[in-house]
């Protein structure tokens, strides 16, 4: 029952990963009872399960995901939202208004207009239907301030880190609030522009170096090193 790669080694589509008593996990497939990789990524063996963590990808909606999207169209009975996925999402007015929607009275473009950014949650999606969003939960809704950053959606878990270690570290070091949309869009809101900028640079670097070891330490070092310099600038 051999496996053919070391954990964390880079594999390409079509690479033979394991034979025998293994289970095909993410980004793998089975053909003739052996497991192959289907994407460019890093191999991981989780007990008997073989996973490939993709290095580049796109977002496919899943129910319950927190996403950040842009309003692209205001219709008669709802908004069309671009959530950086192959499918466009739909948001219904009753979710936003928190009262019954009256088409004669309510003007939807006054609530959310084209170009507005929202934090939302996916409440329904399957193969044959486009995703539906909701903002009727605390923390969701229109974004009024902060900076937006787009990264490869497959790297969001790396930005979060093990049990959130990476993201809590960045939040503490920069004093920013960070919302990670699982569709690869990140919202950073901080008290100072410098703090926001530092968090932005850190997340960009994580995206670029996600497949290297000792990354959390390097990011911490980088943030700590840049911190005193910012305070000096403020004093000037």
């Amino acid at each position: 029952m051999p496996t053919f790669y070391e954990p964390k080694q880079i594999v390409t589509p079509g690479d033979l990963l394991a034979e025998g008593e293994y289970l095909a996990g993410e980004n793998t497939y089975v053909e003739n009872k052996v497991i192959y990789s289907s994407r460019l990524g890093l191999v991981e063996y989780d007990n008997k399960k073989v996973n490939v963590v993709a290095l580049k990808g796109f977002y496919i909606p899943r129910i319950g995901d927190l996403v950040i999207g842009t309003v692209t169209e205001v219709g008669f009975n709802g908004w069309t939202i671009d959530i950086n996925a192959p499918y466009k999402a739909f948001l219904r007015p009753s979710d936003v208004l928190s009262r019954p929607f009256k088409p004669q009275k309510d003007e939807l473009s006054q609530v959310l207009n084209v170009g507005d950014l929202i934090v939302a949650k996916i409440i329904s999606y399957d193969r044959s239907h486009d995703p539906q969003l909701t903002v009727a939960e605390p923390g969701l809704g229109k974004i009024t301030r902060g900076q937006i950053l787009k990264i490869t959606p497959t790297k969001i878990p790396r930005v979060i880190g093990k049990k959130g270690s990476m993201i809590t570290m960045i939040k503490e070091e920069t004093g920013c609030q960070i919302i990670l949309g699982l569709n690869g869009i990140v919202l950073i809101t901080g008290k100072t522009l410098e703090g926001e900028q530092a968090a932005l640079v850190a997340i960009r670097r994580i995206e670029e170096e996600s497949h290297t070891s000792g990354l959390t330490d390097r990011i911490t070092q980088m943030l700590k090193k840049n911190k005193p310099a910012e305070e000096e600038n403020k004093n000037e």
Binding site: I10, P13, Y36, S38, P86, K88, S128, E209
Partner: protein, 245 residues
């Protein structure tokens, strides 16, 4: 350049550019060359220079082309007006439309289209300089671009041609051999699964010659395959070494 060579194979058994019959032209592959595309690749094979860009999966336009059970794969093979000796009209010719179809059909078995219903994957192939065997080089580059876009694939598709120049079976035909030679057999292969996704022939070959040609082309594909893998990994390996120093 425009004079016809008398013989394609000289007395020593070497070809016009000095290659042995079973030798490939030098191949150079690069990935991620178009920042605006979701995935891209560039191939140089001999004097061939080809760019491939992949977009998607994305929404289908026009909408009625969408399939309910799988993604639509769209392919466009196009030759730049300056890619050949005599200026080529930029409008898609009969030949280009056919090659687009052939490339699409040779890539489709490798893509997990059923994962993304109601979407479309666009593949654009632009031949900047042509020197025979562009369809094969295009397939090699397009498959690499698909992998670079992060689209799940069963395997990378590699293509290579073999043919008959004078009376010898030769690998990886160049322009003169393609035009003056007696036959051309392009083959596309998914090496890990040992599956042929494209097999064409023009010209005449005997039963035995055909078999040698196909086997030779498969061997050629298997030589390009590791280069494809290296090209895909190169970007990330570089960053890794730099960061961990």
């Amino acid at each position: 350049m425009n004079e016809k060579p008398e013989k394609l194979i000289d007395k020593k058994g070497l070809r016009l550019d000095g290659r042995k019959p079973d030798e490939l032209r030098p191949v150079k592959l690069e990935v991620g060359v178009i920042p605006n595309a979701d995935g891209s690749a560039y191939i140089e094979q001999g004097k061939n220079r080809i760019l491939a860009g992949v977009y998607g999966p994305r929404e289908v336009h026009p909408k009625h082309l969408a399939l309910q059970d799988r993604a639509v794969l769209k392919c466009r093979y196009h030759m730049a007006p300056f890619s050949v000796q005599e200026r080529k009209s930029p409008a898609p010719s009969r030949r280009e439309i056919e090659i687009s179809k052939v490339i699409r059909e040779s890539l489709e078995p490798s893509v997990f289209t059923e994962y993304y219903p109601r979407t479309m994957i666009d593949v654009f192939i632009e031949v900047l300089q042509a020197d025979g065997g562009t369809r094969c080089a295009s397939i090699t580059a397009a498959s690499l671009a698909l992998a670079d876009a992060g689209i799940p694939l069963k395997d990378l598709v590699v293509a290579c041609a073999a043919g008959k120049a004078d009376d010898t079976i030769v690998l990886d035909l160049m322009d003169e051999e393609d035009k003056l030679g007696k036959a051309d057999v392009p083959v596309a292969l998914m090496p890990s699964l040992n599956g042929i996704t494209l097999l064409q022939m023009d010209g005449k070959l005997t039963h035995d010659e055909f078999e040698t040609a196909v086997n030779m082309a498969i061997e050629g594909c298997k030589k390009i395959y590791p280069m494809q893998k290296e090209a895909l990994k190169a970007k990330y390996v570089g960053i890794k070494e730099e960061a961990e120093e």
